[in-house]
Amino acid sequence: MTTIAPEKVIAPQKQWQGQSVPRKEDKRLTQGQGVFVDDIKRHGMGYLHFVRSPYAHAHITSIDVSKAEEIKGVYGTLTGEEVAALTDPFFQIASEPGGQIKDFALAVGKVRYVGEPVVAVVADTRELARDASELVEVEYEPLSALVDAREALKSDAPLLHDDAGGNLMWQGTYEWGDLDAAFAEADRVVKIEELHFHRFNSTPLECDGALVEFNRGTAQWTIHTNNQFPGFAAIMMGPAMRCGLDKLRFVTQDIGGGFGNKITSHPQLVVCCLLARKLNRPVQWTEWRTDFHMSMSHGNERWFQDTEVAVKADGTLLGFRTKALDDAGAWLRYEPLGGVIWAQVTPGMYRWRHIRVDFTQVATNKAPVSPNRGYSRMQHLWFTERVIDIVARELGLDPVDVRKRNYVRAEDMPYETPNGCIYDSGDYAQMLDIALELIGPVEERRADAKARGKLLGVGIGSTLDSGTNNFGQSRLINPELQFSGNNEVATVKLDIFGEIVVTLGTTPQGQGHETTAAQVVADILGCSMDDVHVRAGHDSYWNSHAGFSGTYASQFAVTGLSAVKGATEMLAVEIKKLASVIFGGVPAEALELAEGGVRIKDNPEAFLPFMACGAIINANNAGLPEDLDVTLNCRYVYRPPFEVPDIERKFGNLTLTYAAQIHVAVIEIDPETGYYDIVDYAAVDDCGKRINPQIVEGQVMGATAQAIGAAMHETYEYDEDGNLLTPNFYDYHVPHALDMPPLRTGFIESPSPFTPLGTKGMGEGGGAGIHAVCAAVQDATGKIVTDSHNPYQRVWELLQ
């Protein structure tokens, strides 16, 4: 692998931040000592198995669980009717009409997608639970299925939700600037009839799961799970289960990947809770791969129709209008937030000022969608990148020139987009140069490929990875909602033996929070990061956590680490306060923290180790001044600077930071078969100040692999009856070792002016790979690419 680092970056010296230190997490994970949800056992626990719908759309005419319950070793069952009696429908984020639908933890009266949980069975072994689930008799009256979002609003379309009165879930018009003026000024109007962004997700290798205990005495549930956003699960589950949020204790340690796909497991968690209470025993649920593919968190499938682009003859982009049609699947589990999240990156990386998007989201008889790495922005950024390459082709211009002419420029930063988002910093043109330099000249390679009967193509993908949400954007979807801003919390304390302990509200799934948090703490306290103990995982009872705690939406480096920084600085102040007393009134300014203790700058011999500080405050505090308010146990909540957006104009800053990625893919197509390989690849990243460069690069490479898989192979394809045709890794081909192209990486660092550490959230920028592969296919075939998924057959068809 080649890596390019621009000269202007000076590698940080003599501090933990900025160093690629190995991770604290690695020892337990490489020795098989991690604790993942399915590793947890409890005495007398029962295993839960879901009876799932074989139909995409059907009335449930009868359910008979008696044969299942008769079996020895079967503890009990739960049906939709019981759920409807014991819980209220989940709170809906949507305004009308989607807000009307009634969503329960199990299907009630009707099933709406293949794989939808209908009945839950609990037994004393996994195998027996599945045996018994086969004895549950469910009678269905099949209905015709709606699988194409474009049919959803037709009068004769099958109707999923009577309560909503139609398949329309949410609709909104976004318009900024002066479209008429832009199109009047345009030399050319490029029209694109239809673009399609396909359905896939990140398929974390560990599927969802839980072990739930109910404490009868306190009426409190302990939910060991791998849900990656417990704060969200809690506000969904509490009201539905008619209990206070403090009755729901979420505990996670190691999570086997999330990528957003583990945010919406709350319906299954509710089923586990109800059964743990009903059966008075711990209930364990493991989601298997086929279950996950059929029912969990597909990425938003989106159509862009009747697109018109106003452009000058020299390739200057003025504006565009399009109609976005989003396929939400059967339920709104996090939707319709996808209807606004894209607006964080409305103009993509470009300077056009006049934009209109008519956004419509509909329900279909497919698995519910919810966040997937790059959530909703990826679809929109793919669209803007497709537009750039199609415009370049129509005008006979070089895609590189069109990009450079229209990219937001370094000197424009911070840049306010037409909808009021603030791009904090960056230099996209420089990133593109680095990427092209990594690839080197291609014309010779093009000729060489031709000589071998192959078609070579080069494609660029630019993306923004907007991080740290302003949850106020949810009000653009539903003005009634009372969400805004964001927060994360950390507690840093000095224990009796001088142990530095950090607790976080986050739920890492491989991002290395224990390591990067320790790097930040060690720099502030002047100690070794080996002396910093960051508690693994999340515990909503014993670790500090805040309303938006979790690990999602590219924000830890901003929200999490800023909270850690804040708490550690508070602790540093307290340590100095204490020391100045111990040193007999030496002013705090005369003290410094170093080598695991506090000392007098001019007299380093006067040294008080942290161990002494911890011991004094915790166990030896007699005689300390009354007014010394020092606990050495500091909690800090980081709150990013946000305003509530202007709901009328749909205007305001929706995210705090904008990391950027520019990828370049080089492919070779075998024109006879459509088979193609990625023969060279460059990924350049800018996420501001990097706390641990190796972890950042790991995110870049991993996201790239996912993008390559999505572009070439991964798709959730349904037949006309709504059967999922890619229900497992046999048909849903994710990249393996032999599929990986050579990968060259580069980076620049444009510190964010808006964050305490100059960091930007990152990790979701991999979408660039999809854009780049699409562009490369277009370059190689000379045919306009209109779909984000290009398997061999589609490439072959392009060439016919």
Binding site: W288, T673, H713, D731, H733, P735
Partner: protein, 265 residues
Amino acid sequence: MLLREVEYAKPSSVAEALGLLAADDGARALAGGQTLVNVMKARAASPDMLVDLNGLEELRGIELAGDGTLSIGPMTTYTELMESVEARARPILGEVCAQIADVQVRNRGTIGGNLCSNDPTNHLPPLMAAIGARMTIRGGDGERTMGTDEFFLGVYMTAVGPGELLTRITIPAGKHDGFAAVTLGVDGTCIVNAAASANGSLRVALGCVDAVPVVVEAESPDGVRAAVRAAGIDPPSDVHASSAYRAHLAEVLAERAARQAVEKR
């Protein structure tokens, strides 16, 4: 995961295995299990009893006769075939086995299992059809030996009946063979594959386009595409390829396999 209840027996001789298979028409032979166990996880096919053939030495081993004929025990794993000195007498065998799945599967999966499951996407049925392999089946009333045209009957259906086992695969001498496939990802599941043999006449066998391998013959590689067209195949469609695309790939890959075979002359 989570199979249905099943009985398990581990016979110590082929005779005992045949007895167990004959005694219960719900009994099935368990070879490498790299297909069967996955089908059982899905709770699709459900044998009542698994008769584990692992450990039956009679069903292993690769012998090379003086005339270059290879005799292969069906319980030979892909890895064993790849590493076998004898098997190099027919190099294509090791070359194709190296493309099947991954190390773990090749360490466990067997030649016999690949042939007897006869999944249309398997590599070996078309290969065996092209190189003229002969299969020996043993049952209660003795042995019979047949070519692939009689052996492969349908999807997951072969001439190996209840109470019978594939006991030997015999492969004639030859070095001029080829194999071409378009797979899902590098060395993934075959979308279409083709095997060719140019030892004497030019024979090409196509996989993934019908319930059994489709064999065509031609004078030279130039005639192969026409021969495939003449065979009038009507391949199945699935999420990975339409019938038309498969039919097209069949022609292209048949010719490529044929050229490889001929070029090795």
